[in-house]
Subunit: 425 residues, 2 copies
C-alpha cells in the first residue's frame, strides 16, 4: 500500500520512522507492505533525522490527492481550515482514503468530511486525533458499539495534565510551571490552545459524537482552562481528598447534549486521579459494559505515529466503515443541555479581605441562593492582608451557584474573581 505523508513535523517523521522500524511485522499484520511513496512539507531541507530523499518530494501537495500511485493520503499539517482542509477535501472527493491526526479540523468539519468519505465509500480515519496512542476512537466506535453510552470523559490534554501534576508535586504556581514546560518543549510558545482547554474541547466533541451517535457539536462545548488554578487550590483540594485535573466530559441527557472542559476535583481513589504527567485517559460508561477505562501516552512522536499507522493497517486490511460509527444522516442532532441544571458538589475559592463580616456576606449569598455548605476552610491572612476562603457545597444546581456569584459580584470584600470547580463524585 503506497502512502503519501503530508506534513513532516514530529508526527510525520515518527510515521516514517515507525514504518521503517517495524516494516516486516506491519507487512505480516496488514497482509501487505505499507510504504511511503511521496511526501510534502513546508521545508524540504530541514534535518529531520530520517532520510526522506528516497521518497518523491512534491511541491504541490494537492497533486497527491490525484496521483494514481498513491493509495492513501496521510494529513499531518494541522489547523482546522486552510491547507489541511483543502487537502482532506480534495483527497476524499478524488476517492482517496484519508488518515488524519487533525482534531481541530474534525471538530469543525468532521461531518462534512465524513459525508465525502461516505459518498465515495472510502475510509476517513483519525485514531491519532484523540488521546494520541490510546485506541479510544476504536474503543468507542467498535469496542463499546453495543452499548448506549451515557457519559464519556477523561484527561484529553497532556500539556495541561503535565502542568497540573507538576504543580501538585512541587507546590508551584501555574505561570512558573508553564514557563518551564515551554522551555522543555512540553508546551507551545503560544500555549492558549492547550491551557485554555480548546484542544481538549476539540477532542471531546469528537468522542461525544462517537459515543452517543450525535452530530459533532464543538460550538456547544463549555470551555474553561487551567490558568486560574493556583497552587493553593491544589493544596486545599488535596487536604479534602481530591486532585485537580482538566477533565473533558460529555453526557447524553434527556434535555440535550452536555459537553464541558473544565478543571475538576477528582477523588484520589478515582482512576483519573492517578493519571500523571503527560498521560491521557478516557472513561466511557455503557448500559451493558459498565465503565471502561483506557489510558496511555496522549501525545509525542511514537504514540501518535502508532495511531496513524494503526489506521493505515486497518485500511490495508480492508477493515473500515463509517467514520463516526454510523452514516452521517443517522447522527442525531441534539440541543445543548442547560448546564444550570447540573447538580453536584462544588468547590469555591474566594480571595477576600481580612476583616469582619466577609464570611457572613458569602454565607448569606449562598443561603439566599439555596446553596447548602458542606465545609469551609479559611487560612490565616497573607502578608498582603488577603485571606483564602474555600467553600465546598452540598449538592447544588449550577444555576444556584451562578446566582451566589452574581450576588457577590459587586462586593468590595472580594479581591479576585472567585474560582469555581465541580467535584467529580
Amino acid at each position: 500500500m503506497r502512502v503519501a505523508v503530508v506534513g513532516l513535523g514530529t508526527v510525520g517523521t515518527g510515521v516514517i520512522r515507525l514504518l521503517d522500524a517495524n516494516r516486516d511485522l506491519i507487512a505480516r499484520r496488514a497482509g501487505r507492505p505499507i510504504e511511503v511513496r511521496a511526501v510534502n512539507a513546508r521545508d524540504r531541507n530541514r534535518d529531520r533525522g530520517v532520510d526522506i530523499s528516497r521518497f518523491d518530494w512534491v511541491d504541490d501537495m494537492m497533486e497527491l490527492a490525484r496521483r494514481d500511485d498513491i493509495d492513501v493520503v496521510v494529513e499531518l499539517i494541522g489547523g482546522s481550515d486552510g491547507p489541511a482542509l483543502a487537502l482532506a477535501r480534495a483527497a476524499l472527493e478524488a476517492g482517496k482514503p484519508l488518515v488524519t491526526a487533525n482534531k481541530a479540523m474534525l471538530a469543525h468539519h468532521g461531518l462534512a468530511l465524513a459525508g465525502l468519505a461516505e459518498k465515495s465509500g472510502i475510509p476517513l480515519k483519525y485514531e491519532a486525533a484523540v488521546a494520541g496512542g490510546i485506541p479510544v476512537i476504536k474503543g468507542l466506535r467498535e469496542g463499546a458499539a453495543a452499548n448506549e453510552i451515557s457519559r464519556v470523559y477523561g484527561i484529553l490534554n497532556g500539556t495541561c495534565n503535565y502542568i497540573l501534576t507538576t504543580m501538585e508535586k512541587e507546590g508551584r504556581d501555574f505561570g512558573e510551571v508553564l514557563k518551564e514546560a515551554q522551555e522543555l518543549g512540553y508546551a507551545e510558545a503560544d500555549p492558549s490552545f492547550d491551557v485554555d482547554g480548546v484542544d481538549a474541547a476539540h477532542k471531546l466533541s469528537i468522542l461525544a459524537s462517537l459515543a452517543f451517535g450525535t452530530q459533532i457539536d464543538f460550538g456547544s462545548v463549555d470551555i474553561g482552562g487551567i490558568r486560574s488554578v493556583s497552587a493553593a487550590d491544589i493544596r486545599e483540594a488535596g487536604a479534602l481528598g481530591y486532585r485537580i485535573r482538566l477533565v473533558g466530559m460529555a453526557e447524553n441527557r434527556p434535555n440535550g447534549l452536555f459537553q464541558r472542559v473544565h478543571p475538576v476535583l477528582v477523588p484520589v481513589q478515582h482512576p483519573l486521579a492517578n493519571v500523571d504527567g503527560s498521560l491521557n485517559a478516557v472513561l466511557a460508561e455503557g448500559n451493558f459494559v459498565g465503565s471502561l477505562f483506557f489510558s496511555g501516552r496522549g501525545a509525542g512522536e511514537g504514540p501518535t505515529a502508532s495511531a496513524v499507522v494503526a489506521d493505515l493497517i486497518d485500511i490495508a486490511r480492508d477493515e473500515y466503515g463509517d467514520p463516526f460509527a454510523m452514516q452521517v444522516g443517522q447522527l442525531a442532532q441534539r440541543p445543548k443541555a442547560d448546564s444550570g441544571d447540573n447538580v453536584g458538589r462544588v468547590y469555591l475559592r474566594f480571595m477576600v479581605r481580612d476583616k469582619p463580616g466577609v464570611l457572613a456576606e458569602i454565607a448569606a449569598a449562598m443561603r439566599d441562593a439555596g446553596v447548602s455548605i458542606e465545609s469551609v476552610i479559611q487560612r490565616g491572612a497573607h502578608e498582603d492582608g488577603s485571606v483564602l476562603l474555600v467553600v465546598v457545597t452540598h449538592d447544588s444546581s449550577e444555576s444556584a451557584i451562578a446566582e451566589t456569584l452574581r450576588t457577590l459580584s459587586g462586593s468590595d470584600n472580594l479581591l479576585a474573581e472567585p474560582v469555581v470547580m465541580p467535584i467529580l463524585d
Copy 2:
C-alpha cells in the same frame, strides 16, 4: 443479520437482553438490524427472565451450522472440547461466521479454528473470551498493531482478584473468602479453573499470540494460583509497599516466549495495584506507543454480552479479518523461554520453627546460591511456636532462588512449603 445463539446461560441470556434493549442504536451502528433467529441450550424450559419463545428452538445445535437462514453462529457453551468445538468446527467448515466467548477452546484449538475461518474467508471473533467487556482483543489486534510488543500482562481473572482484594481489605484468609465468594455466586462450586490460574492462563495464551504474532502456546504457560497466598503475605507485602495480584504476564524474549500466571507483588502506585474487586486490566508495551492500559469489568452478563455483540456489529459492518491479526501460517513458532533466566526481586515467605539457627540456615542457603538479601522481616512466634519469616531479595535469577529452595527442602526447620512470589518493578 440473523443470529443463532447456542448456550443460554448468563452470557447467552445477556446477549438476547442486550439486543432487545439497544435494538435501534445497534441497527444504526451496524448498518442493519441484528436479530436472534434461533437458539439452542441444554434446557428449553428453564426460566431465564427473557422470552425465548419468539425464537426457533432447535434440538440439534449442529443444524445451526448448516441453516441458510442463519448468518452468524454465537457459541456460548464453553469447554475446550466436546459440543463447543464440534459446533465451532461445523460452522466454520460450512462457511458460517462464528462468534465465541470460549477461551478454553481458543487456547487449545484457536489456530486450527482460525485456519478454517481463513480457508472460508469468514470471521471468527472472540472479544468476550478475554477480559469480558474490555475491548482488549481489538486493542491488541488493531489498536496496537503498528507496534512490536515486548510485554503484555494484566489481571485476567475477576474471581481471583475479588478474593485477593477482599482478603486485603478485610484481613481474612483465602479459604474463608473463597467460601463466601461461592455463596455470593462470584466463584464456582468447583473453583479450581479460576483459583489455580488455568482460566487466566487460557486468556494469557491468546493475548500473547495477538501481541507477538506467535502461535498460541497454552502448554508452555507456567501456571500458579492463589491458594497459597495467606492473609499474612498480604499484610507483609502491604508493609513493604506492595499489593498482591494474580498477574498473567507474557514476554517475547530473545531466548523464547515467556508466559506465566502467578501471584505477584505489585507496587501500590502501579496501575494494577488499583484494580479492585472483580475488575480486569491489561497492559501492553509497544516500541512506539509505550504502555497502554485497559480496564473494566472482566466478567458478568452485561460486559460479556457487550463484547459478543461488538463482534456481531463488526461482522454486520463487514469489518473483520484474520482472527489472530495475521494469517495462521505467518504466526511464528517460538520455544518456551527458560524461566530460570528471569532476573528480578523476589518475595519469599517461610514458616519456621522458633529456635536458634533457623535464620542462619536460610541465610546460608541463599548465600550459597548467590542470592543477595534486601530485607528480612521476622514476626514474633505464633501460639503454635511457628514463626513467619519474610525475605525480599535483591535482583536474583529464578534458578538461584530455585537452588536456595532445593537446599532448604530437606530442612527440619521449615514447617511448610516456602511461598515464592516475583516482585513487579
